[in-house]
Each structure stands twice: as structure tokens, then as C-alpha cells.
Amino acid sequence: MLDTFFFYTFALMVLGGGILTITRRSAVHSAIWLIVSLMGVAGLYLLQHAEFLFAVQIVLYIGGIMVLFLFVIMLVNLDEAMKQRQFNKQWWLALACIAGVGAEVFFFIHKGVDAFQFPRPAPVAAEGNTEMIADVLFSQYLVPFEVASILLLAAIVGSVLMAKKRVS
């Protein structure tokens, strides 16, 4: 019962925050609503016992990426952009997307949970969440982990190169 309550609370945060993110005129307001949405996602992680991802979501997304966004919003002068038209003329494409996902959600509400069948899981011995992630990440997925660090290095160098002033 409490699970249900928390799920719908977080779902409201996620979807309401998301809708307000893409409809606000001011980019700073959008960023604030995106934070609300990301906190809802973090709550959903906690609800599913993914504690490590919860911490990563808070520290990295809300503490890292959102601060980066707000810095850039301050660096780039958005006052001019706020006075202009906010939406382009691709609403028909967006409407098609809404129709597709709307049909899926309608099917779910109409048929109920039983319409979606997944193969049953095999029961596994429970362990602490962070320990399990570390075990798998540093043994089975060690190479992708190192590749991800190279990707981050490339991103650091690339973004500095993009953002720095050219001295001629």
C-alpha cells in the first residue's frame, strides 16, 4: 500500500516535472523543473532497492549535470531567446509520437497488467546492492568500465576545446 502511494507520488513528480520542463519559456525555470523530475526518478530507484543508483542520480545528475546546465544558462545570454517563438513547426511529428505511446498506454489500461507477460525470473541469493554492483562491474564488465573512462576523458578534452576562446 505504501509502495503504491510512493510510486504514484514519484510518478507525478517525474511526469509533471518533465511536462513543465519542456513547456516553460525561461530556461532557468525549465532547469528547476528538470531537477524535480530527476529527483522523482531517484525516488523510483530507491523504491526498487537500487540504492547505489539513487546516490549516483542525486550526486551526478542533480549535483553535477544540473549545475553545469545552470552555469551555461548564465554564460549564454538567453534574454533575447525568451522573447522569440518557443516552438517550431514539427508539431505533427510530435503528435504522431503521442498517438503511438497513447495507444500503448490505452492498451495497458484497457487490458490490465496480465496482458504483458515476461518469462519468470530465477531466484538469486540477496546481497547488498552496492556490493553486488561492484562485484559484477569490476569482474565481468571491467573492459566497458575502462572504455567509459576513456569516453569521459575524450568528453573533458572535447568540451574544453569547444568552449575555450580562440586566440588568433
Binding site: T21, I22, S30, L44, Q48, I65, L78, N88, D135, M162
Partner: protein, 103 residues
């Protein structure tokens, strides 16, 4: 009164969030908000991965979610760097005014 929350509920929430992000990318003109919409899309994918990770009691889904977050960080950093360079050169942040490569 309420059904118990199942994996399908999470999948539907994820689909709705993905939809919101897609609509944002398709219809907004401001590049900063387009990048925020991409973050929403990646978060929808993560909800999906964690839901299945919980359902199958398999931690690999969460590992992939960590990789998705890594890629999202790299994407946001490079995208915002490009945005700063763009604003310095063209004095605009509207996506459809950047049409140098348009045929």
C-alpha cells in the same frame, strides 16, 4: 482499490517520460531545453533498465544504467561546450537558426 505496483507500471511510466522527452526534442527551438529533453529520454531508459533489473533480480541492468549515466554526462558536457562555441560565433541559441549545413 489500487493494483499492486508491477514492472508494467514502471514500463508505462518510462514510456510516458520517453514521450515527453521526444516531444521536447522535436518541438522546442531553444538548444538548452533540447539538451534537457535528451536528459529526460536517457532517464526514461534508466527507469526501464532498473525495473527489469529488479524483476529478474539481476544486477547487470543497473550496471548498464551506470553506463547510460556516464554517456549522458559526456553528452551534456560536449553539447554545452558546442553551445557556448555556437553562441560566441552566431549569437543565437535557437536550433532552427543554425542552418549552415542546410541544403
Amino acid at each position: 482499490m489500487f493494483h499492486p505496483i508491477t514492472t508494467v507500471h514502471y514500463l508505462m511510466l518510462s514510456a510516458a517520460l520517453l514521450l515527453i522527452g521526444t516531444v521536447g526534442v522535436l518541438t522546442r527551438r531553444n538548444i538548452v531545453i533540447i539538451l534537457m529533453s535528451i536528459e529526460l529520454i536517457l532517464n526514461a531508459v534508466n527507469i526501464n533498465l532498473v525495473a527489469f533489473s529488479k524483476y529478474y533480480q539481476n544486477v547487470v541492468g543497473q550496471i548498464f544504467a551506470i553506463f547510460v549515466i556516464t554517456v549522458a554526462v559526456a553528452e551534456a558536457a560536449v553539447g554545452l561546450g558546442i553551445l557556448i562555441a555556437l553562441f560566441r560565433n552566431k549569437e543565437t541559441v535557437q536550433a532552427d537558426e543554425v542552418d549552415l549545413l542546410r541544403w
